[in-house]
Subunit: 190 residues, 2 copies
Amino acid sequence: MKLMEEKILSEGKVFPGGILKVGSFLNHNLDCDFLLKVAEEIASLYKDSGATKILTVESSGIAIAALVGAVMHIPALFAKKHKTTNIGGEVYAAKVHSYTHNTDYTIVVEKEFLTSEDKVLFVDDFLAEGNALLGLLDICAQAGAKPVGAAIAVEKSFQSGGKKLREAGLRVESMAIIESMESGNVKFRP
Amino acid sequence: MKLMEEKILSEGKVFPGGILKVGSFLNHNLDCDFLLKVAEEIASLYKDSGATKILTVESSGIAIAALVGAVMHIPALFAKKHKTTNIGGEVYAAKVHSYTHNTDYTIVVEKEFLTSEDKVLFVDDFLAEGNALLGLLDICAQAGAKPVGAAIAVEKSFQSGGKKLREAGLRVESMAIIESMESGNVKFRP
């Protein structure tokens, strides 16, 4: 998506360690007009997918997920983050390793909101190592729900998440795919 | 807002201790079609406010905030509950006491995203003791930004937040105001 690449080039800030800051429009200050265009693009790509539900993880996936849900007229479910694995009640849970913070956390979804009838479109702001998405796939499998694909705002193809997920057979559509960010220069996959 | 009251009556679940669970449409599984209607109502109420920015707190305020921002064509900024490695630079911070979890936490907003030029509309899913909103007001004051009002999905008028904020001169518009939930019966303010 040309618009996403332009936005990253004009507003993104690159920091050492492969960190791209896009807080001015994607995950702190939300440029809602821009994100609605992103949501419309995602909805268009997945219009024939039969998706019945958006699935994301709090917090930074929620805004895009809600907008995609509004455009596609389907609900958006967000998995909640817990610090402990000791979770009771009727929930599906999966452990996720955070590459950024080098720590593990657990994501949970209440069972009543995800069933074997659901066809699930994953939405998230970033795809790097893909651990959050693998956790969501795990939760989907527990529910017997069918994944139809993933829609990502920004993928970093120099990390392994996108490769892993595509090799596992998941359709992954990223609005921008960053190949490298060396010396602060963002290079996109053509 | 009649639609919000009907939704609470048909899908809300009341638990002891004044807890209302609305995870089926508001803060876990998001009914995006419904939330867009809520956002349109909020945008209509504040159409002459001159608001330049939505301000909310992660996580459960983000979905409504993003939708209101999309309808009003203004950005939505969400305060983060923990300082992460992805937040660099200077931040405004405020301490918030969580009534639900009986613990304190800090909310932060990067200074560059809130300035003295901003007219701020607060958006959140719940208003009970009002502590999160007081934290956002504190952050606004630090930035020199002007609050124009608050838009709340569900207010509990048997807790003191709404009263405190209105007495402090803030315009507060709640889509549903719950007066009592005794014996599991939800009663709205007429």
